[in-house]
Subunit: 243 residues, 2 copies
Amino acid sequence: MTVPAQEEPRVRAYDLVLAEVEQGIATGRLRVGDRLPSERDLAQQLGVSRASVREAVRVLEAMGVVRSSVGHGPDGGTVLTTGSSTALTRLLRLHIGLANFPMPDVIETRVMLERWSCRLAAQFATPAEIDRLRETLAAMERPAISRGEFNDLDTRFHVQIAEAGHNRMVADMTTAIRDAMSWWIRFSFDEVAEWDGLAEELRASHAGVVEAIAARRPLRAADRIEAHIRAAYGALLWTREVG
Amino acid sequence: MTVPAQEEPRVRAYDLVLAEVEQGIATGRLRVGDRLPSERDLAQQLGVSRASVREAVRVLEAMGVVRSSVGHGPDGGTVLTTGSSTALTRLLRLHIGLANFPMPDVIETRVMLERWSCRLAAQFATPAEIDRLRETLAAMERPAISRGEFNDLDTRFHVQIAEAGHNRMVADMTTAIRDAMSWWIRFSFDEVAEWDGLAEELRASHAGVVEAIAARRPLRAADRIEAHIRAAYGALLWTREVG
């Protein structure tokens, strides 16, 4: 008979610290800009080790909820902050990487998010936001542009559309997914044999989307971004399969 | 002249460990079910302390990427896993709590996600999935049901619709947002003076959504879920403002 592996206890010390902070946030006791008690005070208050407090703070940092800095005085300590987009990007990138989200689901989700953003952008984008989209298009036209630069600008284009939709949560989700896919898309760009042709197609469909947004045509903008996303993934997945 | 607070160095030890695991996942070297090297081996390999490795593992646990268990043999160690929904819920709950996402944006995002799920559910839900939705409706009809039980079933209803849409990423996002709102909705339910009337309205609009899904009418289902979500938040926000 083998001895069964020892079971981990249900509630671990760092979970107590997390729960304390989460409750404070849920009830409105802790707000952005507030400072957490010191590592030593939190450890004493909750009856856990300072190492456990530090583990919990690392988790909160990775979730974009707190920012820590060394030092005393007004700039030191652990402060509640805003940083949802980066944390969401990291989370989605990890789970897309682990294939916890299958690729077809990710593509459909992008279609949903970006159709929504385009419709809102066509209604509410400011002239300055439309100008920024046109600047990104212009930068992607540069003749000597590398595939890496093209990919960075392509990411920026989709993030700018999401931001022009003026919904923080949709924008963060769009940014996170596009960012999470960036490595994969960059890799696929490198595999494409007919790069010039693909780049030209992507530029043309981007321009069509911006035109529809500028013309204040929400449905046309939504249909064009959907066609663009599907065509782009089609071209890249095809490359990956046969390349 | 005051001495400036000491700046935190850019790259911290636990970030090195996170970056190592993230790169392994991004390149496909690490997959679900794989085991990470032991704390001691990782610490040696990356030249960091074991405490730093443990901090990184806590972050990965909180993100739903690894599961740790004490003990040796096949069940011990830190294993790559699937657990995106819980981690996403925690992340969104924290950021909604911190008001990093304004409430109107959260409501619009729910409308977007659930319209999408309803359209897909009306096309692809299996008969068993439609039966489960009807069971949830029936459970919500119980005369002596408490507001807390009602809220739990209400959450289940929205999660079941998302699952019937058969898109993992959209379902996880829907679940995460509904879960993240659960505390707030529960609290608002308690404040409602005309509870019986509100519960009856919610039941009727839920039933209308399920009817449209069962009748395979995607647009009708989407329009009904949107009307339901907007009406529910309208009633609850109005209660919070005047209550």
